[in-house]
C-alpha cells in the first residue's frame, strides 16, 4: 500500500446479533479523491462510517489509513491520526458558542498549558499563558468559521443556528482537527437544491484548500454526481456496484435497487 491510498477497507463485516448490517465490503479511496457511498435507506452506509471511526468494532475485516491498520483503535486515536467526520443527525456541542465548538477541536493537538497551570496560575488581572492561548485560539478558530462562511455567528450558541449553518459548523469543527481524510455523513440532508449547489462548491473548495481526501454519504444525486470522482454503491449491507458517476448512473443493478424492478430512468 502506497501513499496514494488514503483509506482501504478490506472485507469489512459488522453483525448486530444475527443481522449483518455490513457484509464483506472492500474498497479503496485514493489520496485527494472525493468518493461517495450511496445506497437506499438502511443499506449500511452510516455503519461503514461508524466502523471507520471506531464507534463500532468490525466483526471481521480490516481498515487501513494511509497504509496503517487502524482496526480496533480508540476513536480519539483515529481522530489524532487524521480522520475527522460529521454526523447524519447533527451532533454539535449545543450549549457552547459557535466559536467554542471549533476551539474544542482546535486546541487538541498542541495544548499550550497543562492541568496544573490551568488550575493554579490563572490569576485575575494578570496576563498569562492561559489567557494568551485563549486569544490565539479564538483568532485561529475564526479562520475556520470564515472558510465555511459563518463567521458572523461566532458568539451565538450552536443550538441557535439555523439547520443549514449547523451543518457548516460541523464541517468547520471537523476541519479544525486538521484531518487528511474527511468523512461527511449526508452533508446536504434537509437542504434545498440551491443550498445543495452551494454546499457542493464549498466541499470542493475545502477539499482543495486543505488537501483532503473526502468520503461522503449522500442521497442528493445531483451533489453526488457533480462532486464525486468515484462511487461505491451498497444495498442491504452488500456491495452492489462501483465506478465513476457516469457508469453508476447507467448501471441497471443500481437503478433496480433504487427504483425497484425495471426502470428506464
Amino acid at each position: 500500500m502506497s501513499k496514494d491510498t488514503a483509506l482501504k477497507i478490506d472485507g469489512l463485516t459488522k453483525a448486530f446479533g444475527g443481522i449483518k448490517a455490513v457484509e464483506n465490503l472492500s474498497f479503496e479511496l485514493k489520496t485527494g479523491e472525493i468518493m461517495g457511498i450511496i445506497g437506499p435507506n438502511g443499506a449500511g452506509k452510516t455503519t461503514v462510517f461508524n466502523l471507520i471511526t471506531s464507534v463500532y468494532q468490525p466483526t471481521e475485516g480490516n481498515i487501513y489509513f494511509e497504509g496503517q491498520n487502524i482496526t480496533g483503535k480508540q476513536p480519539e486515536e483515529i481522530v489524532k491520526l487524521g480522520i475527522a467526520r460529521t454526523f447524519q443527525n447533527i451532533r454539535l456541542f449545543k450549549k457552547l458558542t459557535v466559536i467554542e465548538n471549533v476551539i474544542t477541536a482546535l486546541d487538541l493537538n498542541n495544548p499550550k498549558y497543562n492541568v496544573m497551570q490551568a488550575l493554579f496560575t490563572n490569576f485575575p488581572f494578570v496576563n498569562n499563558k492561559i489567557k494568551k492561548s485563549e486569544i490565539e485560539l479564538r483568532e485561529e478558530a475564526k479562520k475556520y468559521l470564515r472558510d465555511v462562511g459563518i463567521e458572523e455567528y461566532a458568539y451565538k450558541t450552536a443550538e441557535s443556528l439555523p439547520y443549514g449553518l449547523q451543518r457548516k459548523l460541523e464541517i468547520a469543527r471537523a476541519l479544525a482537527l486538521n484531518p487528511r481524510l474527511l468523512l461527511l455523513d449526508e452533508p446536504a440532508a434537509g437542504m434545498n437544491p440551491e443550498e445543495t449547489r452551494e454546499l457542493t462548491e464549498l466541499i470542493r473548495t475545502l477539499a482543495k484548500k486543505f488537501d483532503l481526501s473526502v468520503l461522503l454519504i449522500e442521497h442528493h444525486m445531483d451533489l453526488v454526481m457533480n462532486l464525486c470522482d468515484h462511487l461505491y454503491v451498497i444495498n442491504f449491507g452488500k456491495f452492489l456496484a462501483e465506478g465513476t458517476p457516469e457508469v453508476i448512473q447507467n448501471d441497471p443493478k443500481v437503478l433496480e435497487a433504487y427504483l425497484g424492478g425495471e426502470a428506464d430512468a
Partner: protein, 300 residues
C-alpha cells in the same frame, strides 16, 4: 457581630458550597450523576479526623490528607467504571453502591472506631479559615471551567460521541472531573469533621449524597455560583423553619418541586453571577428607573 449560631449556619453554608461546587464540575459540567458523593465527604472527614486526633498533626495537613485520600478513592472507583463506558444511569447506580459500601467499611474498621464514630475533634473550622478555603476552591473551579479542560468537560456533557470524534478522550475527561469533585468533597468533609467535632458513619448516608446532587441540579447544571446559592438556600431552609419541627423536611420537597416547575434548568441555569453581570443589572434597572435617581448614569 453575629451570635455563634449564625456563624455556625454560615460555616455550614460555606462547606456545603465547597462540596457542591466540586460536584457541579462533575454533574453540572461533565454530565454524569453521582449518588455517592457523601462517601467522598466521609473519606475526607475520617482522614482529617484521624490525622489530627490520632497522629496529632496540624489541621492543614489533615485537609491536604483528606483531599489526597478522597482523590485516590475516586480514581479507584472511577477508573474501572468510567473505562467500561457504562451508560450514565448504570454509572449512577455504581456510585450509589459505592456510597453504601463506604459506610459499611467505616462501620467495621478499627481505625474509624466503628459505628461509635470519632469524637472530641479539635475546633479548627473557624468561619474565616473556611471562607479562605472556599475562595480558593471557587477560584480553582473557575479556572478549571474556563480552560480547555472545562471546555472538554462541557463538550462531553453535550454530546459524548461528538466529543470522541473531536478527538477528546471521554474517559479521561470524566475521570478528571470525578477526581476534582472528590477532592472538593474531601476538603469539605475535613471542614465538616472539625466543625461538628464528632463524626460517625451514619452521617454519610445516601440521603446526604442525594441532597448534594439535588443542590447542583437546583442551582443550575452548568453554573458554579448557582449551586453555591442553592447550597445556602438548602442549608437555611431547615434552620429558618426550625419551629415547624418535622414538617420542615416537607419544605425541601416543596422547594425542589417549585424549582423544577419554575426553572427547569436550575435557579441559574447556565449563567453565573459575576461582577460585570451585577453592574449590567444595576445599569438596566436604573435605565428603567426602577432604582436610583432619575437620569443618573453610572460612571465606569
Amino acid at each position: 457581630m453575629f451570635s455563634s449560631y449564625i456563624w455556625g449556619v454560615i460555616t455550614v453554608c460555606m462547606y456545603t458550597s465547597i462540596i457542591v461546587v466540586g460536584l457541579a464540575v462533575f454533574t453540572g459540567f461533565t454530565g454524569l450523576v453521582s449518588l455517592g458523593h457523601a462517601a467522598f465527604v466521609a473519606i475526607g472527614a475520617y482522614t482529617c479526623a484521624i490525622l489530627t486526633k490520632t497522629f496529632e498533626l496540624p489541621f492543614f495537613v489533615g485537609v491536604i490528607g483528606a483531599a489526597l485520600t478522597s482523590g485516590l478513592a475516586s480514581l479507584i472507583i472511577g477508573y474501572p467504571t468510567l473505562r467500561a463506558k457504562l451508560r450514565s444511569d448504570y454509572f449512577t447506580i455504581t456510585t450509589l453502591g459505592f456510597g453504601e459500601a463506604m459506610r459499611v467499611i467505616l462501620e467495621n474498621l478499627e481505625i474509624t472506631n466503628g459505628a461509635r464514630g470519632i469524637g472530641g475533634l479539635g475546633n479548627y473550622s473557624h468561619p474565616i479559615t473556611v471562607f479562605v478555603i472556599l475562595v480558593i476552591v471557587l477560584w480553582v473551579t473557575k479556572n478549571y471551567i474556563f480552560s480547555r479542560y472545562g471546555r472538554m468537560s462541557i463538550s462531553v456533557r453535550e454530546d459524548p460521541i461528538a466529543a470522541e470524534m473531536a478527538g477528546i478522550n471521554v474517559v479521561q475527561v470524566r475521570l478528571r472531573a470525578l477526581l476534582f469533585s472528590a477532592i472538593c468533597a474531601g476538603i469539605g468533609g475535613a471542614i465538616y469533621a472539625h466543625y461538628i467535632r464528632f463524626i460517625q458513619p451514619s452521617m454519610f448516608i445516601s440521603t446526604q449524597s442525594t441532597l448534594y446532587t439535588a443542590i447542583v441540579v437546583a442551582g443550575g447544571m452548568g453554573s458554579i455560583t448557582g449551586p453555591c446559592i442553592a447550597a445556602c438556600i438548602f442549608t437555611m431552609i431547615p434552620e429558618v423553619l426550625r419551629v415547624a419541627d418535622q414538617w420542615r423536611m416537607v419544605a425541601y420537597g416543596a422547594v425542589l418541586v417549585a424549582i423544577m416547575v419554575l426553572r427547569p434548568s436550575g435557579i441559574f441555569g447556565y449563567k453565573e453571577i459575576t461582577i460585570r453581570g451585577m453592574r449590567n443589572l444595576v445599569r438596566r434597572l436604573r435605565k428603567q428607573k426602577l432604582i436610583g435617581p432619575e437620569g443618573v448614569e453610572i460612571d465606569e
